[in-house]
């Protein structure tokens, strides 16, 4: 075990996969020579050479489509999109081909690949560098979508994604790359895809979040506990497949819930969570589930980020609403 950041955990997980699985290749813009703009692939090109760690031209559709062909051809590509806002040119390849080949060919051809996408705001970046479009990938049948919020989960979920027989969109919260640390095993391990993690048990209120928003969720929960509200905190981790059972169990217990995400509200993944809860726990609900989300606006530049991003205060205000209903 050693204490590592989320970025280091990802780097080590990739290294283990490259070392232990002959069919893994890493491919993307600047992933080789310079180790990626976030250094997640740092050192890998030196260790595994240019046939395993491939620097590509600036062409996201090509990366996704060529990676798709490689996957059908017997490899397990781990593709990097430099930022989520640059993954849209690859969207046609992902939705029309990556997500569909197993179905289209009745299992004859498959695309066991991973698309790593750094995402989320709070870093004062330029336009297109801060968005959270997870809902779009979640609405695409044939994809799995996972989001770690801790170094251990990052390493374990990434390994699971690489070993998965189907394509996995692996979302990496940029804001957490270097801001969270924890003890992580030094050897490779997997964390199952499809299971939420109950980070804190509680009986009064459930806060549901994923990715970077787990930070705010945890802080809000801590403040609430201090106020005597026994708050349950749920890290969804896997958006598709969704662990509905854990969600339902929690809300049936607490009767009150808040879902938090950075993405715009309209048809954000929070809507799906609300829909699942109202379907399965309507009669347990003491108050409407509150959504604390980004607004239906363009993710703003640095000077306005604080207006857009869900804050601990906004979560606490929502908690107040939910608890006083």
């Amino acid at each position: 075990m050693s204490v590592v950041t989320l970025a280091q955990a990802l780097n080590r997980s990739l290294e283990h996969a490259l070392a232990e699985m002959d069919d893994v290749v890493v491919m993307g813009e600047d992933v080789g020579r310079t180790g990626g703009v976030f250094r997640i692939t740092d050192g890998l090109a030196d260790k595994f050479g240019p046939d395993r760690v491939i620097d590509t031209p600036v062409a996201e559709s090509g990366i996704a489509g060529v990676g798709f062909g490689m996957a059908v051809g017997g490899l397990r590509p781990v593709l990097e999109m430099q930022f989520m806002g640059f993954s849209y040119p690859a969207f046609d390849q992902i939705i029309n081909h990556v997500a569909r080949i197993r179905h289209r060919s009745r299992h004859r051809f498959t695309a066991p690949l991973v698309i790593r996408i750094p995402y989320g705001g709070g870093i004062g970046a330029a336009e297109h560098h801060s968005e959270s479009a997870e809902a779009i990938y979640c609405h695409t049948p044939g994809l799995k979508v996972v989001v770690p919020s801790r170094p251990g989960d990052a390493a374990g979920l990434l390994r699971s994604a690489i070993e998965d027989p189907d394509p996995v969109v692996f979302l990496e919260p940029i804001r957490l790359y270097r801001s969270v640390k924890e003890d992580v095993p030094d050897t490779s391990f997997t964390t199952p895809i499809g299971a939420a993690s109950v980070e804190r048990e509680g009986s009064d209120l459930t806060i549901i979040a994923w990715g970077a928003m787990m930070k705010e969720a945890r802080e809000a929960a801590a403040a609430l506990v201090e106020q005597g509200v026994d708050t349950e905190v749920l890290d969804v981790r896997s958006l598709v497949p969704l662990d509905v059972e854990s969600l339902v169990a929690s809300v049936q217990k607490t009767g009150r819930a808040i879902v938090v995400h950075e993405a715009p509200r309209t048809v954000g993944f929070g809507a799906e969570i609300v829909a699942q809860i109202q379907q399965r726990c309507l009669y347990h609900l003491q108050a409407p589930v509150e959504r604390v989300t980004g607004w239906d606006t363009i993710f703003p530049l640095k000077r306005s980020e604080h207006v857009y991003l869900p804050s601990v205060e906004r979560i606490l205000a929502a908690a107040n609403t939910v608890l006083s209903a």
Partner: protein, 341 residues
């Protein structure tokens, strides 16, 4: 433009195929045409969904696919059934796909032919990835991808060509320039003088061939496949051909082109010139023609019957190939679908 066999059946360069092989490929041409016409007929009867006929393009498809090894990859479009069939894709599955059954997309192992691409342009990058994966795994299998003149306008054509050029991937880009992309004539598709010359933008060789000339197509493809197999990189081939029929059975070409144009291309029929060539060498007779047409017809009928005899795919057809293992929410939805049946 490379030409070996003229429309009147004269050789203007050495034949790249011996007479036995030429006879076999002529048979394949006849077969392809039978398949194509039958498909149009079946569509008219409502037994197939919209069909995209390839009449006129038989030599481009048969001649190029003939240059492949049996285990090479082939990535084609909705209009490339003849090439796919040449490379081993079962006829009944081709029909099954057209009846609206996903099982048509599942050729048996070890046939390395992808189900036909319905989106225009998106599949060429796949061939690049396939060829590259083979090389990285130490194999010398190559990939060929078929696409039309219209497809060259899509961004993905560019990205595929660029990747192939940069990484020297063993991929053959085979463009059937059939003059039209639905209602859009080739001249309005791109201001490039030829499609072949687009290769220069990617540092790879490009060649224009008479796409209705079985020999020219075979010869150019054989050379490109060899280059690819030897690790010398990709090639772009532009086969000049023509779609004699409508874009699909839902299209009406009289809205955008003249009868004259089609009539002129009729005179360059890709089958006729091989027939003359064989006939002049005593390898063709009316009886034999009747015989192979009858065989083709029988095989096609059999394949149609097999496709139509498939059980309804039912709920399993919708759910069971979404993932290797069905996740809980999908399993729940599957139960709901079962109930609704």
């Amino acid at each position: 433009m490379l030409q070996i066999l003229t429309p009147s059946g004269d050789l203007v360069a050495e034949a790249p195929l011996d007479l036995d092989m030429t006879t076999r490929l002529y048979r394949a041409l006849v077969f392809a045409r039978a398949y194509d016409r039958k498909s149009t007929a079946l569509q008219k009867q409502g037994r197939l969904a919209t069909y995209a006929p390839f009449e006129g393009q038989e030599a481009a498809q048969v001649g190029s696919a003939a240059a492949l090894n049996p285990d090479d990859w082939l990535v084609g479009t909705y209009r490339d059934a003849a090439a796919m069939w040449m490379q081993g894709y079962p006829l009944d599955l081709l029909f099954a796909g057209r009846t609206g059954d996903e099982r048509g997309g599942s050729p048996p192992e070890p046939i390395n032919v992808m189900p036909p691409s319905i989106t225009v342009g998106g599949h060429m990058v796949h061939a690049v990835g396939l060829a590259w994966a083979e090389r990285l795994q130490g194999s010398d299998r190559v990939a060929i991808t078929y696409f039309g003149d219209g497809a060259t306008s899509e961004g993905d054509f560019h990205e595929a060509m660029n990747f192939a050029g940069v990484f020297d991937v063993g991929c053959v880009f085979f463009c059937q320039n059939n003059g039209w992309a639905i209602s859009m004539p080739r001249e309005s598709q791109t201001a490039s003088e030829t499609i072949a010359q687009k290769a220069i933008a990617y540092g790879m060789p490009g060649i224009q061939v008479d796409g209705n000339d079985l020999f020219a197509v075979f010869s150019a493809t054989r050379d490109a496949v060899l280059r690819a197999r030897l690790g010398e990189g990709p090639t772009l081939i532009e086969a000049m051909t023509y779609r004699l029929g409508p874009h699909t059975t839902a299209d009406d070409p009289s809205r955008y082109r003249t009868e004259d144009e089609s009539a002129e291309w009729r005179r360059k029929d890709p089958l006729e010139r091989v027939r003359i060539y064989l006939s002049e060498r005593d390898r063709w007779s009316e009886e034999w023609q009747a015989e192979i047409e009858a065989q083709a017809s029988a095989e096609v009928e059999e394949a149609v019957a097999a496709a139509e005899a498939l059980d309804p795919p039912g709920v399993a057809g919708v759910f069971d190939a979404m993932f290797a293992d069905l996740p809980p929410i999908l399993a729940e939805q599957r139960r709901m679908a079962e109930e609704a049946e």
